[in-house]
């Protein structure tokens, strides 16, 4: 799919680590699949050439869906995928369900007090627990896609009189 935005010298990819946002870096290459102009950070080497983060995420999602359909899914393991350590893909692997969240209907009422874990005396260091195995949820196979995330666009006026190093 070719990009429709005119090439203004800037990267057109919006993938981030924690949230989607416009990229303010100069473009240096084009995505082989969607022809979007992208910067170095948003370009990923594949056997087919350089693709953008969005296209690569879609590819991997399709691969996971295929392997699930073939019932060859392996339990989630840490970092043993080609791009597993790249921050752009981290949340898809290790934080199932990240993104737009549906909050229970009574969320608007007065929230209950937050159960804070008793804190040790950090200065003395006398509380020196060993880590305890905690039974966490197993990996949620429901995939999170880029399209599910609510884009957190940077507000242009957000930094007026807040950025002391601005010019």
């Amino acid at each position: 799919m070719a990009t429709t935005k005119p090439d203004d010298g800037m990267c057109h990819e919006t993938s981030g680590f924690l949230f989607s946002h416009p990229c303010d870096r100069f473009s240096v290459q084009q995505c082989r699949q969607c022809q979007k102009p992208i910067c170095e950070d948003h370009g990923h080497d594949t056997p087919e050439g350089v693709v953008c983060t969005t296209c690569l995420k879609k590819q991997k999602q399709a691969q996971r869906q295929t392997s699930r359909d073939d019932q060859t899914t392996t339990p989630s393991d840490y970092g043993h995928t080609t791009y597993g350590n790249d921050p752009y893909f981290y949340r898809d692997h290790y934080y199932p369900g990240y993104g737009h969240t549906v909050v229970p209907a009574n969320a608007g009422s007065t929230p209950p007090p937050i159960p804070v874990t008793p804190t040790p005396d950090m200065i003395s260091g006398t509380d020196f627990d060993d880590a305890v195995d905690d039974k966490r949820q197993s990996h949620d196979p429901a995939d999170f896609t880029e399209g599910d995330a609510e884009s957190l666009q940077r507000e242009e006026d957000a930094d007026f009189e807040s950025d002391m190093g601005a010019s």
Partner: protein, 282 residues
């Protein structure tokens, strides 16, 4: 401010406010310096081994012959222990590189990070906190805040990440069944990670409605334990602790405990709270 390697070699602390590119470049200098130190130490070890063997053989054969290899051994040992102080803990600067790279994904192009990275040993005397006697053991605790990162993401949210190593050293005299006294010692360590974000109030106006559910959004590795969660309208924070011997997967692919994962998952968890505050149900 530019990175001064000669200054760094004196105090092994790198503190600055700089762009990600500059930080990466400076850590690269540190990495190179550490590699040189490690190679040199390895070379010294080899020389000391050879000198040691020669000394032993010389002593057996003809005592005066042992003077030369013995001297070499002593000199090398002195240099070795001096240089050993400059052997840096690799996982700390590799961890910093990984985390800074991840933060850079959501920072503005001209964003800067204020940071301090301390590569001095955890059991330095200035890091000692408490000494006490516990059930016959002389126990000394050390607290080593070796990393602090402060900056701002592109959406205006500020972050404050710190890593603290806690180190415990225990010694005592014990008598064996044969009646001999010997000194026993043990060490223990843990890493405390504190991740805080300070969201912009204008952007996340409904944060107060969901912060009560902060705990349900926390998804952290199984090998860390949550110590504290703080959820207020202007700050979300999670503090975790782990005793696992973690390293950095990029340099140690076989590790089961990837240190940067603690920070990644903490940030994702806290940002999930922010995502929830934009939910349509509110």
């Amino acid at each position: 401010m530019s990175f001064d390697l000669s200054q760094f070699k004196r105090d092994l602390v790198y503190a600055d406010q700089a762009s990600v590119a500059e930080i990466r470049s400076s850590i690269n200098d540190i990495r190179e310096f550490d590699r040189e130190t490690e190679s040199f130490l390895k070379f010294l070890k080899t020389v000391m081994s050879v000198a040691g063997l020669c000394t032993v053989f010389s002593l057996c054969a003809f005592f005066p012959l042992a003077v030369l290899p013995g001297s070499v051994l002593v000199v090398c040992a002195v240099i070795y222990f001096q240089k050993k102080k400059l052997d840096l803990p690799n996982r700390r600067y590799e961890f910093t590189t990984e985390v800074v790279n991840a933060l850079n994904r959501d920072m503005p192009k001209d964003g800067q990070i204020k940071f301090k990275m301390d590569l001095t040993p955890s059991n330095g005397t200035h890091k000692k906190t408490v000494s006490e006697k516990v059930r016959g053991w002389d126990v000394t605790y050390f607290e080593d805040p070796w990393l602090r990162l402060e900056g701002r993401f592109a959406d205006g949210t500020a972050y404050d990440i710190s890593m603290i190593d806690r180190f415990q050293s225990r010694t005592k005299w014990a008598r064996s069944s044969s009646g001999k006294s010997k000194r026993k010692s043990k060490t223990k360590s843990a890493t405390v990670a504190s991740v805080k974000i300070f969201p912009k109030q204008k952007k996340y106006t409904n944060l107060g409605l969901v912060m009560g559910q902060t705990n349900q959004f926390l998804k952290l590795p199984t090998w860390v334990k949550i110590k504290k969660v703080n959820a207020e309208p202007d700050v979300l924070a999670v503090t975790t602790i782990t005793s696992e011997n973690w390293s950095v997967r990029r340099t140690d692919p076989n590790t089961k405990f990837d240190g940067p994962e603690i920070v990644y998952t903490s940030l994702l968890s806290l940002y999930q709270v922010l995502n929830a505050s934009k939910s349509e149900n509110l």
